[in-house]
Amino acid sequence: MTKDIDRRTVLKGFTLGAFALGSVVSLGSLLEIITFPNGQKAALARGVILADKSLCSGCRICEMVCANFNSAGRNSDSLSLLLLEKDYLRGDYQPKVCHQCADPPCLKACPVTALQIDRQRGTYARVIDERACIGCQKCVDACQRYFRPSRPRFDPEKHRTVKCHLCFGDPQCVKFCPLGVLRLERSEKGLLVGYPIIQED
């Protein structure tokens, strides 16, 4: 019994620690790097797409413009990097966007470091280097543990996994959304979003 309590206290300590570190990152703006107990370092994304589902009309322009832009004109909802979950009957429409997680499970799972952080474009988005990807779909599985459906998506035709890269800083879904459901939140300090701050959606 005591042992149990001990363990729980220790865990609590860890969690508090993580939170404290998080606050330092967001408030202090000194660090762009979040460090986790396992030693993994990941620069925070400087942009993330947020969705207000209460306005969504379910037109799926976001999905189409994403697929059209990012897959050389192959228009399809299965190649779109954000997904619209729709309950047609009850009229509940939810755009599911990539959170550009603070501690990205997909990035950690990649065995060939195809998943990288896009420093070059300055978005610090979690992106997949198409040349390096081997199509093992481990990132898909990793994301799926928390967020369903998985945000990285497998393109069977090219045998590569693709994921949201914020369209090099100008997300087309945000630009084209006719109802203003989607918006791009930016911060030069980095945004503490996605996993582990939220662990499901």
């Binding site: 209460s54 306005l55 969504c56 009309s57 379910g58 037109c59 799926r60 322009i61 189409m64 413009v65 697929a67 059209n68 832009f69 897959s71 050389a72 004109g73 192959r74 228009n75 399809s76 909802d77 299965s78 190649l79 729709k86 309950d87 047609y88 009957l89 009850r90 009229g91 087309q172 630009k175 084209f176 959304c177 006719p178 109802l179 203003g180």
Partner: protein, 678 residues
């Protein structure tokens, strides 16, 4: 030349009698016949001769998409249902019906550009299409379910991403006014193709695809799409999803007087509830696939059927607003509309049947006892639910009404039939479709406009005049602070001039009255209607939405000039085929002649292109009349412009040759249609 984009290349053919599924190439038909309505017309020409009745197994139910479906192209969620239509009265004939929603892209992603269904299944079945495969599955347990329940069952089986075209009780009972519904409110209504599905024992078509549609010039498509978004819509202001963030911006649909979600609920009980956040009722704009405007609203609440309803569908039972004026658009109005959807009855037809029954009751031609309907309380829930169930189940008078208003009226004969002429304007053998703005402002009020009368006599269903041409008139009315019911024609001419020049080639086309104000000016009727037909055929063949296209009136600019080239530019971007505006009009003309040939083969001639006497007797709100001789002259001019024989209205061999429709010449000659030989 094979298009580089837009098509996935296969047409699926399902024979329900034998259970055989086969595939043919789309490129047997396109790009020559463009797609959608043109593609379907060609298939009908090849496969549905006049001897085949609408409910015969040999009739084809064709679901045709166009090159734009399943892509980013604005309003590319639409597709067309075609075949021999049971609703056309008294002679069943070729007809088309457009559907919005999200079904079309799913069909393309599943790998099929079109679907041809023939034969008759021995027992109730549904069709399951997914990624290049099609299966005919048992639907015994779906038979008899309403359209929502059947879809829910299919979603349980095949996943929520599956889109379903489904019929209700009305379709199962082969009603001639049954619709095919998808999701909560998008339906193929006109034509009565729900009954065709029922006659084939086909309850539903379920589709799910994970493939993709190639676009030839993705960057160009994004540019034109962004341009069109800017023309038609703005993001909403944060406090109200219905208001554009840019204050004075007008959503450019129907001349700018309507906007996002604007044709669902009218003022009244239900709208008040939706605007009260604590009530539990709500309405939010709801978009068809890839549409920037979202002209519909989805409505939900604790004790109403949730879903979308739009225009005719949500206004199906406005009698309830007369019955209970203090409530305005009430829960009853909404529930009646949704009951029509659940049972799968064409709301547009009900909008003629209900007032016609009311007229008959007033004239003491029908009684409550013999009909079993509470006719003295038309407008109540009791009446609506009894009437709709009777129609869907074909009980008593409902059996007659399920044949459609015009056929029912003809059966009753005498005065009842005469009363129906007000709702079914076209005389001759190819009527059966409800009045739809024969006048600006509607019949019997409003103003006579020559082009509208000519559109009406020539169409093979209701002329879709509330879109394209009339949208310009409405737009002009809105710019002077009036609307369709109040605008005086002379006053709207100035606002129309530039727009008319761009759309129809002359500023003069705006003046449909002579300067004396006493007589209609028929001079421009024929050329305007020819161009209107070209616009319609093109829009329905690329498949874009009627509400946005053709774009002829800009409510946000000073000269109001539209841009009819948008459609062909989208087409070029998606398919990679260069298509100039002039070229596209030529294609429209060709498809219009093909549709005419289909009607002609079913027996249509010049004498079927006529309105009932009533429309030449009544004076409009300005004291003017349609004069029969004027209309006949305009018809002659129209036939001449189209290269059809003036005496019979039948396309000549010369024009068919020029349009590259040789097989049509041969087909018509085989049936001894002498005019074609000339």
């Amino acid at each position: 030349m094979t298009p580089k984009g837009g098509w996935v290349g296969k047409i699926l053919r399902v024979d329900l009698t034998t259970g055989k599924v086969s595939v043919t190439s789309t490129f047997d038909y396109v790009p020559k016949f463009l797609g959608g309505r043109g593609l379907g017309a060609k298939i009908c020409w090849d496969e549905v001769p006049p001897e085949v009745g609408a409910f015969d197994p040999e009739n084809r139910l064709i679901l045709a998409t166009g090159p734009l479906q399943g892509t980013l192209a604005p309003t590319s969620g639409r597709f067309t249902v075609l075949g021999k239509a049971p609703q056309t009265a008294p002679t069943e004939s070729f007809c088309r019906s457009g559907v919005g929603g999200h079904f079309a892209p799913e069909l393309k992603w599943a790998g099929f550009d079109a679907l041809i269904i023939q034969g008759k299944a021995p027992k109730p079945v549904y069709l399951w299409i997914s990624d290049q495969r099609a299966e005919i599955l048992d639907a015994t347990r779906l038979w008899g379910l309403d359209t929502y329940q059947a879809q829910q069952m299919i979603w349980k089986l095949h996943g929520w991403k599956t889109r379903v075209m489904v019929i209700g009780r009305a379709g199962e009972n082969r009603s001639r006014i049954a619709c095919i519904l998808t999701d909560t409110g998008d339906a193929s209504g006109q034509g009565g193709f729900g009954g065709v599905m029922g006659s084939k024992n086909l309850k539903a078509i379920a589709v799910r695809g994970t493939g993709s549609v190639p676009v030839a010039r993705p960057k160009a498509l994004m540019e034109i799409t962004h341009h069109i978004h800017k023309l038609f819509a703005r993001k909403p202001s944060h406090s109200d999803p219905y208001q554009p963030e840019e204050k004075n911006f007008k959503y450019n649909i129907w001349g700018g007087g309507y906007g996002r979600g604007s044709l669902s609920l009218l003022p009244g009980e239900l709208l008040d509830l939706c605007q009260d956040p604590s009530s539990g009722y709500s309405q939010i704009p709801d978009g068809c696939f890839a549409c920037p405007v979202s002209c519909r609203s989805r409505v939900k609440g604790p004790d109403i059927t949730p879903g979308v309803a739009f225009c005719a569908q949500s206004y199906m039972y406005l009698e309830s607003m007369v019955h209970q004026p203090e409530k305005g658009y009430s829960k009853i109005t909404w529930q009646a509309a949704k009951l029509g959807d659940l049972l799968g009855i064409n709301a547009y037809e009900l909008m003629a049947i209900v007032p016609w029954l009311s007229d008959c009751y007033r004239e003491k031609l029908i009684t409550e006892e013999e009909t079993g309907l509470p006719l003295n309380e038309i407008g109540s829930w009791n009446f609506a639910s009894k009437l709709l169930h009777k129609i869907a189940n074909r009980e008593g008078l409902g059996d007659l009404l399920a044949e459609g208003g015009q056929r029912a009226a003809a059966k009753l004969g005498g005065k009842a039939e005469k009363l129906s002429f007000m709702y079914y304007p076209r005389a001759g053998n190819f009527g059966g479709y409800r009045e739809h703005w024969v006048y600006l402002g509607g019949f019997p009020t409003g103003y006579a406009i020559p082009s509208l009368a000519l559109m009406w006599v020539l169409d093979n269903r209701d002329a879709l005049v509330s879109h394209s041409y009339i949208a310009m008139l409405w737009g002009a009315a809105f710019t002077i602070g009036q609307n369709a019911l109040t605008a005086v024609p002379e006053k709207i001419f100035p606002a129309l001039k530039t727009a008319m020049k761009v759309a129809y080639g002359s500023e003069e086309a705006a003046e449909f009255l002579h300067a004396d104000g006493k007589n209609l000016n028929w001079k421009w009727a024929a050329p305007v209607v020819k161009r209107y037909h070209e616009h319609s055929l093109l829009k329905d063949s690329y498949i874009l939405c009627d509400v946005l296209f053709p774009y002829l009136f800009n409510a946000n600019s000073a000269d109001h000039a539209g841009d009819p080239s948008l459609e062909s530019r989208i087409y070029s971007a998606v398919t990679g085929i260069e298509m100039s505006l002039e070229e596209s009009y030529g294609q429209g003309e060709m498809l219009c002649t093909l549709e005419r040939a289909l009607a002609v083969r079913d027996g249509r001639t010049r004498k079927d292109d006529i309105l009932h006497d009533l429309y030449f007797e009544k004076e409009d709100a300005g004291g003017r009349k349609y004069i029969r001789e004027d209309l006949e002259r305009a018809k002659s001019e129209y036939y001449r412009l189209m290269g059809w024989d003036v005496n019979s209205g039948i396309p000549t061999a010369a024009i068919l040759e020029r349009l590259g429709l040789k097989e049509v010449t041969a087909g018509l000659q085989k049936r001894g249609l002498p005019e074609v030989k000339s």
